[in-house]
């Protein structure tokens, strides 16, 4: 089996002391980031990008660190959902519904460890899905010409709003803003500078990493400065964990749920744009319809904790599939990871698997390792993370600000980039106030150029014939999914959103 040989090579790469330590560090920091309300996986990865660059890590180690953070944050999100009824990040929103009632009933420990196990099952299966699906996707990648890529990008944007955003129009506005920002710089199709105002720093366009760190990390600091909610959100709560290990019968009862929702979450993750929030949402609602005969969901049913956690962690793994195989991110956080790859001079896409097999397989092996580490960390050590919830923001935020500035300056050595970052920070702060999601902006900035170029390539190749965009079965299928993904939430969305946001934390407008 070629697959296992490659995977074996991957483990050989991942199992060095440096990489194991990085994975451990990433898992630990990621779990903390996930647990802290407001700091989700996108911010978590964004904040640690400068760290990875400052440490002078190579491509594979950087990726191992950052994907461990990514997986860790997906695990960590559940902790504050269960204990405080405040989702640590948006995908963990659905975990509040049954997790908090369980904690109130005195089963906090069980809920935490059960959701840890569910997270593990979801992530573990999704990593296998990634291994099996990504190389297949690479094989059909040759079917993707410029027209199909354009359709795929459109699909990413159209499904992005979906159920997870508060407002489809705001999502669309954010995407348009991102696409607009992407036009800054020399147009690669004609070599003409656009919106550069003769400023040579703008010729290469805006650096995504600078934009990401500004939008996510710095705006977080601004929000803090404004609200100064002193200690942490956990103050005044007496966190009682109780028994840590759930009874076997509970795990057994939840197993079918975990397996079903892992598959569902994975599929939701693979679709570009939809991401982990959709994964956990679909998982929860499907399980509710399927097994909730007595109406116990929402009152502390263990299956209601297992379903969204398995779903969102599986979606996190699924979102890596299109990112690695096609270079189109499946979620907000993978969009951030894509930016990292590009900054490391690695172009994701069909060629990645043949040209940088060490990166791909090392990364996949690291995901497995990270998963086991996270399981180990999240069950016996969950008490430690609950204590992190009490770290006051006034200590945390200056660290975030410092890492952002030092890191970005470390990457480019340019003070111009610092100004751009501050600009993005202010923009992020304003947009959060207006409840405009930030992820579509990043996706727009990141994918805007490719999307525009592929459109223009497609039309040029076909001598100006616009019908070329819907000229193959693949592109028609992609457009169809995109349309459904955009229209469906408008129709069924109202009801769904009301439920989803009933318990929504008002703090961050960040969706994954």
């Amino acid at each position: 089996m070629e697959l296992f040989a490659s995977l074996g090579d991957g483990f050989a790469i991942a199992l060095t002391w440096q990489n194991i330590l990085l994975a451990l560090l990433g898992c630990f920091l990621g779990t903390i980031m996930g647990a802290l309300p407001g700091l989700g996986p996108s911010n978590g990865v964004a904040i640690l990008i400068p760290l990875a660059f400052t440490m002078g890590l190579g491509a594979t180690p950087s990726l191992i660190l950052l994907t461990s953070v990514y997986y860790g944050a997906m695990y960590g999100g559940r902790i504050s959902s269960i204990l405080l009824n405040i989702p640590g990040d948006e995908p963990a929103m659905m975990t509040c519904l049954d997790g908090y009632p369980m904690a109130k009933k005195g089963f906090a420990g069980e809920a935490l460890s059960l959701s840890g196990i569910a997270s593990f099952v979801g992530a573990f299966l999704a990593t296998w899905g990634l291994i099996l699906l990504a190389p297949q996707l690479v094989k059909i990648a040759l079917l993707f010409g410029p027209a199909e890529y354009f359709a795929l990008f459109a699909l990413a944007f159209m499904t992005l709003g979906g159920v997870s955003s508060t407002n489809q129009a705001k999502s669309a506005f954010a995407a348009a803003l991102g696409l607009g920002l992407a036009t800054i710089g020399v147009d690669t199709q004609t070599g003409v500078p656009r919106f550069t105002f003769g400023e040579v720093h703008l010729y290469d366009g805006l650096d995504f990493l600078v934009a990401i760190v500004g939008l996510f990390a710095l705006s977080e600091v601004f929000i803090f400065l404004e609200t100064r909610h002193g200690g942490s959100d956990a103050e005044g709560h007496k966190l009682k964990i109780g028994k840590l290990y759930p009874p076997m019968s509970m795990i057994k009862a939840c197993t079918p749920t975990m397996l079903r929702t892992s598959v569902l979450g994975f599929i939701a993750g693979v679709l570009p744009g939809a991401g982990a929030s959709l994964g956990s949402f679909i998982s929860y609602s499907m399980e509710k319809r399927l097994v909730d005969k007595d109406g116990t969901f929402g009152t502390g049913d263990p299956r209601g904790v297992a379903a969204p956690e398995a779903g969102n962690n599986a979606a996190a793994g699924g979102a890596l599939v299109p990112m690695l195989a096609l270079g189109v991110p499946g979620s907000g956080t993978t969009a951030v990871l894509l930016a990292v790859l590009l900054a490391l001079n690695i172009t994701p896409g069909p060629l990645l698997f043949t040209q940088n097999p060490d990166v791909v397989w090392g990364l996949i092996a690291a995901l497995f390792i990270a998963n086991f580490m996270l399981l180990a960390m999240n069950i016996p050590m969950v008490g430690l993370f609950t204590r992190v919830l009490m770290v006051p923001s006034r200590i945390l935020m200056p660290i975030v600000a410092m890492v952002s500035f030092v890191g970005i300056y470390g990457i480019s050595g340019s003070s111009f980039d610092l100004l751009v970052m501050i600009g993005f920070g202010v923009m992020g702060w304003v947009l959060r106030k207006l409840d405009v999601p930030l992820v579509p902006i990043i996706l727009g900035t990141l994918l805007g150029n490719s999307m525009e170029n592929n459109l223009r390539r497609a039309v040029t190749i076909d001598n100006g014939n616009w019908w070329t965009l819907v000229d193959s079965p693949l592109s028609i299928a992609l457009w169809a999914i995109a349309l459904v993904g955009f229209v469906l939430p408008l129709i069924v969305g109202a009801r769904v959103k009301a439920r989803m946001h009933a318990r929504r934390d008002t703090e961050g407008a960040i969706s994954d």
Partner: protein
């Protein structure tokens, strides 16, 4: 600090008295106008290392990455702030000349710096998919001549960039007068362009020989012409040149250096000599072979006029295709 300054002054005085060839660059520095990992970065680091290995410089060459504006940030920095630095050289390539020719470094021209020497070249290739019916360059150019809309040529640089210009040089040499009719599709890098060639979205590929090599080895594409004066040595010897097929087109993506415009003649001559000595060494021949660099041996005034000609040629083609007015 005062001590260092005094010492520097003494050193400068001593150096000023010593012979030109012995002018030792006190703190050799090389600016790579891009992030680590690219071609310019390679140029600085490899040359710095080889110069030291050969004993041509005493101290390690410090490599500074100054990315931005496709090299424009570094160019502006050298012209505006480091204009008389005798220790500084900057990595450059055809891309630098192309951008200068097209005025893509706002307010800067090639006369503002001194062109030092080349260290080799990556020759251009034109390739088609392995299963394509086209086997020679004239066949491809005939197809373009009879129906320009039927052939899309993919390359890794922007419209007006070097990959594009190479096809146009070939088309021009074959007697296609309206080079604007040649359909060029810009991709982000040679790899992506080759992928689209394999996917069948485009019919031909233009790029550097180093980009194409891997895909030739795997049997995916066939090179129908190398844009070099004569066949390349070693493993590239099988590729026919454009010239032997009756198309007099040469396209070399050269690598080399420029120095600040105000560099003293003594320092300039010393640098030229050092890079010249480096180029002549056997160690450098090995480096070139290992990295797919073909010979291009130009130093000092010869290199200066080579760059000037290249800029003029690019300007005239760019004017024809309407990129500059």
């Amino acid at each position: 600090m005062k001590f260092t300054a005094t010492r520097g002054l003494i050193a400068a005085a001593v150096l000023g008295l010593s012979a030109v060839a012995a002018h030792a660059q006190e703190n050799p520095e090389c600016i790579a106008p891009a992030n680590p990992g690219g071609g310019w970065d390679f140029t600085c680091r490899q040359v710095g290392k080889s110069l030291q290995d050969l004993g041509l410089i005493d101290k390690t060459m410090q490599v500074v990455n100054l990315a931005g504006g496709g090299g424009g940030v570094a160019f502006a920095e050298v012209v505006n702030k480091r204009g008389d630095d005798n220790d500084l050289i900057v990595a450059a390539s055809s891309a630098t000349a192309t951008r200068l020719a097209q005025g893509a470094y706002p307010g800067n021209t090639m006369e503002q710096v001194r062109w030092l020497a080349s260290i080799g070249a990556d020759y251009g290739v034109i390739a088609v998919a392995a299963d394509s019916a086209v086997n020679t360059l004239p066949e491809l150019l005939d197809a373009i001549k009879s129906d320009p809309t039927s052939v899309s040529v993919a390359g890794g640089s922007a419209v007006g960039g070097w990959d594009h210009l190479k096809v146009l040089i070939a088309a021009n040499a074959y007697g296609i007068d309206d080079v604007r009719s040649v359909k060029y599709i810009a991709f982000d890098g040679g790899g992506e362009a080759v992928t689209q060639l394999l996917a069948g979205s485009v019919q031909a590929f233009t790029g550097d020989i180093s980009e194409a090599k891997g895909f030739v080895d795997s049997g995916d594409i066939k090179v129908i012409a190398v844009l070099s004066p004569e066949r390349l040595p070693g493993e590239f010897a099988d590729f026919p040149t454009a010239r032997e097929q009756g198309v007099d087109a040469i396209g070399a993506n050269w690598r080399g250096f420029y120095a600040p415009g105000g560099m003293s003649d003594a320092a300039y001559d010393a640098w030229v000599q050092k890079v010249g000595d480096l180029y002549a060494s056997d160690a450098w021949k090995e480096v070139m072979a290992a990295n797919g660099l073909a010979p291009l041996d130009l130093q000092g005034a010869a290199f200066q006029s080579f760059v000037a000609e290249s800029v003029a040629q690019i300007q005239s083609i760019s004017r024809e295709i309407g990129i500059i007015k």
